[in-house]
Every structure is written in structure tokens, then in C-alpha cells.
């Protein structure tokens, strides 16, 4: 796959909606999702080799979007933005799938270690099998099982303390 700027622009047009859809669900804010869309492709313009080495463009976009959005959630937490003002209103199509629960999920994800949070997103929000999660995280299926167990324990603790 040739990855000059024109190719990246075409990829943006053909695949950008994947990034936008997942960023909306993960961030719950249209403005932040649009920023995620631009940032994911800006990172590709800066380092096109990162995709050239990937086996799947869609998989790369899932990884990159998840990484960016989880960082954003952690940054929000660091800035006490969520704690002080709550989660930004989700667009209607996100809220329709359970906006309050997603807001809770974002708060929880911001507190989990990066690999645990990513495994949680892939498995529970994207419905991936352990093998698919392992493929994106670059680890074994056994490790995925361990990460998801950790997530479950953390979530149970957070629910108890809520």
C-alpha cells in the first residue's frame, strides 16, 4: 500500500467514519470525537510507516483510535474535568444506546491501566473475541484473559464503592 499524502487522504475519506463512530462512543462528545478523527489521521501523516507495517488498515485505525481516546479520558480525569462537570452530553445516537451507562464506563476506563482499559474496550464495546483482542494488543490470548479478569475485579470494586 502506497502511503503518500494522497493515499492517506483517500483512506481518511473511506475509513474515517470508523474512527469517528468509535471516538463518539468512547468520548461522548462530538467536538472531542471530531478532534480524535483529525488527530488519528494527523499521526498517520506524521508517521505513515506505522500503517505500512500493519496487516490491516481497519485494525490499525481501531488501535490508534482506542489509544487516543483512552489518553483523552485519562487527561480529562487528570484535569478533574469529569469530576467537576460531568461527562459532556453524548450525541443522540450514542445516548440512545445507554448514555448514562457509557458515561459511567468512561469514568471507569480512565482509572484502569492502559492495557486493561484497551482490552475492556475491544472485548466489551467492540465485541471482539479473545483472539481478536490479542491480535490488536500484540499479546497472547492468555494475557487477554488475565487483562479482562483484572478489569472485572476493578469494575466490581468501583461498583461497590459507588
Amino acid at each position: 500500500m502506497s502511503l503518500d499524502a494522497g493515499a492517506i487522504e483517500r483512506l481518511y475519506r473511506s475509513h474515517g467514519h470508523i474512527v469517528l463512530r468509535r471516538a463518539r462512543a468512547l468520548l461522548g462528545s462530538e467536538e472531542d470525537a471530531q478532534e480524535a478523527l483529525q488527530e488519528v489521521f494527523a499521526s498517520l501523516l506524521r508517521a505513515p510507516h506505522s500503517l505500512r507495517n500493519a496487516t490491516s488498515a481497519v485494525g490499525w485505525l481501531y488501535q490508534s483510535t482506542t489509544h487516543f481516546c483512552l489518553n483523552q479520558l485519562r487527561n480529562r480525569r487528570t484535569g478533574a474535568r469529569l469530576l467537576q462537570s460531568g461527562v459532556a452530553p453524548a450525541p443522540a445516537h450514542v445516548a440512545g444506546r445507554g448514555g448514562e451507562a457509557l458515561a459511567e464506563l468512561r469514568r471507569v476506563l480512565s482509572r484502569l491501566p492502559a492495557d486493561v482499559a484497551a482490552a475492556t474496550v475491544y472485548h466489551h464495546l467492540d465485541g471482539m473475541t479473545h483472539a481478536e483482542v490479542a491480535g490488536l494488543l500484540g499479546c497472547s490470548r492468555r494475557k487477554v484473559g488475565y487483562l479482562l479478569e483484572r478489569a472485572q475485579r476493578s469494575l466490581a470494586l468501583l461498583e461497590q464503592s459507588a
Binding site: A5, G6, I8, H17, A42, V58, T129, Q152
Partner: protein, 232 residues
């Protein structure tokens, strides 16, 4: 898993990743056939696929060029000087509006194009290519609120600058690079550019819509420059 998480789970038979890879044509033919056969027979998966297909039709905003950090990585003045193109303000691609509603003259818009790693100053009616990065620069005798809108050959209006919904303040100066560029999409044909210089941060979405309908009416307190380039 907790109840709340379970409620959010992707509920089709294959993962969202598989659906997206199928739609992107990434699955191997036998896998794609199996996937297709299952979806045809499964109402839940059909619904999920239709929802994703519908989302894929959304028109995306222009792909921005990476915003410049405080110390520009894209030294427009230096590049222009090297190219011998910074000789005079008269080279700026400006057609000033006959009815200037913002007091004063000297408001001008220029454009730089990056094509395959090389940067050049664009001329009027310049031919550019899909994937080229463009960045605008303005000259203004006073601080002014600036916006750059475009209308592509398909009649779709875009806001190239700024990223927000209102014109953004730019300091007075000559050939001041706007802190945001755009990566051009594949829509071929003539693209019209509208540079707005306003005394206040005017709302841009109404102007974009008017542009698509043949306008816009220039808001009070603004003056405008118009020009175009051809994408092929």
C-alpha cells in the same frame, strides 16, 4: 462483567472489527462469503451491518494539516524567500471586494501548497492535486477576525479555517500564516475560496450553508476576498 457494561456490549454475532473489515473489503474471499451468508440469515447482524453502512455515508470535514506548533515547523516566510516568491505583496492572490465593509484596505489572502513534500506559493487558478496540503496566509493592517471557506466542484461548502464555528482573531501583519492547514480531498474541478476579514467573530456555519446556495451575503463589518484553484 458489570450490568452496565453488559448493556453496552456489541450485540451482533461477530465483532464490530469483523463488520468493519468486511465493509472495507479486508476479509479473505472465503471468510467474506461466510460472513455475508450469515448476515443474510441473521436479523441482528443485518441490522448492525445496515447501521454501519449508514454511518459510512456521513460526509467528513476536510482533513486538516497538522496544526503548527508555536514555533512553526512550516517556515512559510523562509520557504517563500528561498523560492523567490516573497518579493512583493502584489504577488498575493487577492481580489479585493469592491464593497469593503471593514474599514481600511490591505486585507489580503495568500495560499501555499505542499505537493509531494515541496512547498510553493499558489497562483490564481492554480492547479493542485488531491492529497496536497494547502495553508493560507493573510495580510492585514490591523488585528482582524479571519475565516476561509470553500465551495468544491460538487457544490459542497467547507470551513477551512478556523476549526471552530466562528471567525478567529489574527494579528496584524504581512503574510501571517494561519495556524491550520487542510489536506485536499479527491473532488476534482474548480474550488472557490472565500476569505473573510471581519471586525467581530462572525458565525460561520450559516455562511457555509449560504455559500452552498449561491451566496453568501457578506455580513456587516466584513470584507471578502475571492479566488479559486483547480483540482485534478
Amino acid at each position: 462483567m458489570t450490568t452496565s457494561l453488559a448493556n453496552q456490549a456489541w450485540d451482533a454475532c461477530s465483532s464490530a472489527l469483523q463488520f468493519d473489515r468486511y465493509l472495507a473489503g479486508e476479509l479473505e474471499p472465503p471468510d467474506a462469503e461466510r460472513f455475508h451468508a450469515h448476515v443474510d440469515a441473521c436479523a441482528r447482524c443485518t441490522s448492525a451491518l445496515n447501521e454501519l453502512r449508514s454511518g459510512a455515508k456521513e460526509r467528513l470535514p476536510p482533513l486538516r494539516v497538522v496544526p503548527f506548533p508555536p514555533r512553526s515547523r512550516f517556515p512559510i516566510r523562509a520557504l517563500a524567500a528561498v523560492a523567490g516568491l516573497a518579493a512583493a505583496a502584489s504577488l498575493l492572490l487577492v481580489v479585493r471586494s469592491p464593497g469593503t465593509r471593514l474599514k481600511g484596505t490591505g486585507f489580503a489572502l495568500g495560499m501555499y501548497v505542499e505537493h509531494r513534500g515541496e512547498v510553493r506559493r499558489a497562483g490564481r487558478g492554480e492547479t493542485v492535486a488531491p492529497g496536497d496540503a494547502v495553508r493560507f496566509a493573510v495580510s492585514a493592517p490591523v488585528d482582524v477576525f479571519v475565516a476561509v471557506l470553500s465551495l468544491d466542484a460538487n457544490g459542497h461548502g467547507s470551513i477551512y479555517f478556523p476549526a471552530g464555528g466562528r471567525a478567529e482573531r489574527v494579528q496584524a501583519g504581512n503574510d501571517v500564516a494561519l495556524p491550520l492547514g487542510t489536506r485536499l480531498d479527491a473532488t476534482a474541478g474548480e474550488e472557490r475560496i472565500l476569505g473573510l476579514f471581519c471586525a467581530s467573530p462572525v458565525e460561520l456555519e450559516p455562511l457555509r450553508l449560504q455559500l452552498e446556495r449561491g451566496g453568501p451575503e457578506i455580513p456587516d463589518g466584513c470584507q471578502v476576498t475571492r479566488w479559486s484553484f483547480v483540482k485534478r
